[in-house]
Symmetry: C2
Subunit: 717 residues, 2 copies
């Protein structure tokens, strides 16, 4: 590939992007697409109505870019939560570091690469791209110190930027905790592995245990029920309603049996009932009690009087059998992944190992079916297998389509299957929170993408040959050093095509747009608010951004031509993701900045990997000085990572006692504690899946309250 | 080597052992050796006097064996602590599992090995030992399922035994905690990384922090001083004493300024002094206050009112900067390794990495100087370098001595340097407790021994070639499969010589015996109680026992002839170590069974290693069935290990809240708390190094009390 071809390719891609971005700026103004492009606003309030027929609607405008650019970080924090801000910080960090790298590499490394070999150069447009890579530098060149210096500058500036980002994000995380003073999750812990007791229900066991060992701080608890049981419980509640009517219970005794079902407290309404000993009511009660016992899981949310007590209970080893009474900090109510709470705790370790193995296997054998399909599409074989195709395949256009297009379509389809697959693995793994599941999937997709895009492309060849590369550890640097510059051209076009195009797709939201058009024009549906709240797909976007960062670091000193294209990608990403966070995605739950440690680790890995490849290159080019200077750089980078791990990571894994105690004191002084306690009871309800504003159990209990006050209306329930 | 030679070697070793054991049974009866062989008893009470001239003293007797055999586990627990019991359990576990292995392998594997090759066998005494190893089985033999079956039986019985041992030892650990109700370490935590405050001393900062955030449970604290400063402080105390006399302070106000110095509480005696404003006294006070501020470390012991509060404070992340206010559970008073407490916490991570690197380097390059020395002892070179030796080296005996003996002496001397070296590394690492240091050294010595005895012997050759073996991961099993049976003979003789001899040496205590003889007959010293309290060297003995277990597992199905010799070793070890624990060693501190997880891990590693080697052997012998059955066994073993890690390990890393709360309640009900609080103040004193019964600061304060009550006697202090 020569420079002219690269520029042509860039031109085509720029054209596509400009067209799509303009199309977006028109489509977003159409009232019918509000649900697609303004999902977040729609979820909270009606978007303003636009005059249906004005010229402005059909003229492309850059207003969304201005809007995205002008939004401040505080607004983003309010709109998208801490995770969104952290994600944008990752993008901003990439912009900063690759600006530095671009300057250094353009003025220092690129000339050395270009003039590295003596001889006559062609005119620049027809010059091969290889002339700009390190391949062009002759062996034993005296100029390799420039590469080494560039490596030092890039590493040092990344280190500095990473350190200050980590520090700032840690601060933001603490500020976020302080700023959300009434978060119920701070008062709650999740207990799993409750021991089965023949005498009482799990509910009784929990109550007994915590009022024995944490008497001073224990407030209440709420059992978790087997999924699918909750709806049945609601039916039981309805039956119970009839029982109430039949026994005409005292109206002054506020009936709170639903709370008993959901929050696990044996309340006096039940007691009253059994004391009165009405045969009808009692038998129903006993039946329901027995059946609800069977439906309880060995898991419960336990609430404490202070935040500090909750964190203490979540961190101390409770029982002399570490598989029982396992305590964790509770996730936010909307963040709880209910189906996983019922998994017996003793299964978790084996599930984790199982899914780890499964994802590694998936990662390694992913290319096997793809290679198989690619092999099949060789026309001779295809014709042999499916003789009826012979007629069709005489057409030249179809031949080109099948041989040139089909394999990549299949590859893309396979790639689209990866995120759901990894999410499935993470769900099977047993994460208790949605954000935890996304984080776990994010790791898996990250490994998967880096492996498949990078290694598989570099070590092209059969699956077994790729693994052979890793069986001899010593030769890895030199093998990589040979392979990476070879593939630099591919990576540049990858950034151009896959990177830029992915942003345009993200902006256009093709799938929701298609669904919307389908429902409006085919199904003739008028309701455009249905199912419009997506949450930001961190598990696919974080790995994507990090992958491009990884490619950038790796190619920076070997093939610096990639850097301008990468910078354009990151600038676009910055604008597009800001726009999407402001307009499209709703943040129902968040992890509190847990994606930054992933980005930090990946960046350090990218740096070390770059250094190892550079080491290989320097030793191939026989520059002992450069090789000698690179080794301490690797050690320093690893030490830096270890320091950051020690200095900042604990804040992301634990809550800080100091902060929580201060919050507790504030609330006690202002007397808000009672209010918070009241909120706690209704915070965690297992039925929130369908609607996210009102808690069904609450609304149900309202209905029941009404039904008891007005017995006639109960038939409507 | 043939069978006859092996039996001869065994005979010689048995002879040596019998002679040494008899010698021991005589020597231990000599009154002069009481300090060598009854150090523990001597430390607590005088050993009974033996009639100096009776025949019994000079007749060998097996009474010590009987005594060692008959002692119950409870007595051992009382005498040697939990660590001793755990160590003996490791030996007993080895006896059990190798009894099973010996039975299986003798009746199942040995005949298959011996008759594995068709052909005429020689008479057994002149048969080569290789005829009993798996080398003798021909390729593609149908009888390899016996080896696979033996492997299954050994793995399953080890798994069962390991599981129940782990369960029992976990129970014993809990019982040990419950059984030591007044341990001061349960009430104390060690705080490091106290932030420097310009206004006040560290002492004030600690007091402020804990009375702010842990007001309900904070009792008091005690600063740690820079080592070397403590003696100076005592001088200051003496000066202060004079100040007291001069200002003639009120006698009713109990002077507790020593507590202020050692326990960090600003007490009223100081306040009184400054209020009275005697110029002389005040200036001294200010001087001392300033100088003691300078000498404080950023570390302190903080005491809490309950055990539960202490454990909570030790586990919660205290500060939003995780490098400040770092809390750990405090070690037992005698277990504290004072010199390390003053290391700034921020240095620790780099120290850990540094010592890890240093020990790996030490491990890898250990054989370089030895090989160098061995090369030097080739006579021609020696003569060339040192011409004056030419005359001496004409003597045949000296030539034999130099070439045959010198290298092994040097090797042994180098090996003797390993434990002190590793202890040094562990000290530099920054362990806060002596038992922690021993545990860390134990790991290092374990890796060192397995590496140097096993790998280096197996892959004989240059240092670089040994590393080459590890660079190709895939070929490791088959390489090991080739190398291990080759070296089986060496391992058998190693068990015979090094194993048995080490036990005899342990029993004889050559070095203390020599020191004792030297002091009695050369120095003519009469005091035989000096320096006689050794603590059990777990860091050398645990790795030794585990190494022999490792050799046993690895050779079990490949060369079953090793098993009887190994069994004898373990039986002897059981008796000898029991005897030593009862009579010789004093347990001043203990880790509470922390050596069992090391033994568990090593045993699982040995099992997996054995299985991998067996896998290699089976694939070399072309038995697909046996290979196929071995792979699931490896997976099951690893899963078993992971289960045990989940199920039992947390108990060894943390204290259990349930247990501590119960203990707290007991003490509160019986009203013993006040008494315990009083003990806490004097429990941790930085001067305990010289004597272990009385705390010097206590005795000093007694003296000072006396000096104040009786001013005249103060001149004697």
């Amino acid at each position: 590939m020569n420079v002219a071809a690269l520029l042509t390719s860039a031109g085509i891609n720029i054209g596509i992007c400009v067209v799509l971005f303009s199309l977006y700026s028109i489509l977003r103004k159409q009232p019918g697409n509000v649900s697609v492009y303004f999902g977040r606003r729609l979820a909270y309030r009606r978007a303003k109505c636009i005059d249906p027929f004005c010229l402005e609607r059909f003229v492309p405008s850059p207003s969304w870019i201005l809007k995205a650019w002008e939004t401040t970080e505080d607004e983003l924090l309010a709109v998208g939560g801490l995770d969104a801000v952290v994600f944008l910080r990752i993008v901003a960090f990439s912009i900063r570091i690759f600006s530095v790298a671009a300057v250094i590499c353009t003025f220092l490394v690129l000339p050395v690469n270009y003039y590295g070999h003596e001889g006559i150069h062609k005119e620049i447009p027809s010059e091969s791209l290889d002339a700009f890579t390190i391949k062009n530098v002759k062996e034993g060149s005296d100029w390799l110190w420039t590469h080494c210096l560039a490596l030092y500058i890039i590493t040092c500036s990344s280190g500095l930027l990473l350190y200050f980002e980590f520090k700032n994000i840690a601060k933001m995380r603490l500020a976020h905790i302080i700023g959300s003073p009434t978060s119920p999750s701070h008062f709650a812990i999740l207990v799993r592995g409750i021991p089965w007791c023949a005498k009482g229900s799990y509910c009784d066991t929990v109550k007994k245990f915590f009022s024995n060992y944490h008497a001073a701080s224990y407030l209440s608890h709420q059992m978790v029920y087997k999924s699918g049981t909750v709806h049945k419980l609601m039916n039981d509640a309805e039956k119970m309603c009839n029982v109430f009517k039949a026994t005409s219970v005292n109206q002054n005794c506020m009936p709170s049996f639903l709370r008993c079902g959901f929050c696990g407290e044996p309340t006096n309404s039940f007691r009253k009932l059994s004391d009165e000993d009405t045969v009808n009511g009692r038998s129903s009660y006993v039946d329901m009690h027995l059946s609800s016992r069977k439906k309880e899981c060995a898991a419960a949310f336990v609430f404490f009087k202070t935040r500090y007590a909750a964190i203490v209970a979540s961190q101390v080893l409770q029982s002399s059998n570490p598989m029982l009474w396992v305590t964790d900090l509770a996730p936010e109510p909307h963040d709880v992944y209910w189906p996983n709470l019922c998994i017996p705790y003793r299964q978790l370790w084996i599930r984790k190992i199982g899914t780890l193995m499964a994802s590694i296997a998936f990662m390694l054998v992913f290319l096997v079916p793809v290679t198989f399909v690619q092999g099949l599409t060789e026309l001779d074989k295809l014709q042999l297998r499916l003789p009826f195709l012979r007629g069709i395949l005489k057409n030249k256009f179809i031949i080109q389509l099948v041989t040139g297009y089909l394999p990549s379509v299949i590859l893309i389809l396979f790639l689209y299957a990866v995120p759901p697959m990894m999410m499935l693995f993470s769900a099977v793994e047993g994460c208790i929170s949605r954000s935890g599941r996304k984080k776990s999937a994010c790791y898996k997709i990250l490994y998967f993408t880096i492996w498949n895009v990078f290694y598989v492309n570099i070590f092209t060849g059969s699956f077994i040959r790729q693994l052979d590369v890793f069986s001899s550890v010593k030769e890895l640097p030199s093998q990589l050093a040979k392979a990476v510059p070879e593939q630099a051209t591919f990576f540049i076009t990858y950034v151009l095509s896959s990177g830029w195009a992915s942003l345009a797709c993200e902006l256009m939201q093709f799938f929701p747009l298609f669904c919307n058009l389908f429902s409006r024009f085919i199904l003739r549906s008028k309701d455009n608010s249905s199912d419009c709240t997506l949450s930001f797909p961190y598990h696919t976007e974080v790995p994507r951004v990090l992958l491009f960062g990884f490619l950038g670091f790796t190619c920076s000193i070997l093939a610096p031509l990639i850097l301008p294209f990468l910078l354009v990608y990151f600038f676009l990403a910055y604008l597009v993701y800001r726009n999407q966070i402001i307009n499209v995605y709703v943040s129902k739950y968040e992890s509190g900045g847990q994606f930054w440690p992933i980005a930090h680790k990946t960046t350090v890995f990218s740096l070390v990997f770059t250094q190892v490849v550079a080491l290989g290159v320097f030793s191939i080019k026989r520059s002992t000085a450069a090789t000698g200077f690179t080794i301490p750089l690797i050690i320093i980078t690893l030490l830096f990572h270890e320091y950051c791990r020690q200095r900042f990571l604990p804040i992301f894994n634990n809550h800080v006692a100091e902060v929580l105690i201060k919050l507790d004191r504030q609330d006690e002084e202002t007397g808000r504690m009672e209010e918070i306690y009241k909120q706690l009871h209704s915070a965690y309800c297992q039925l929130t899946i369908t609607s996210h504003d009102s808690c069904p159990s609450q609304s149900l209990s309202h209905q029941l309250d009404r039904s008891i006050q007005d017995p006639e209306s109960s038939r409507q329930v």
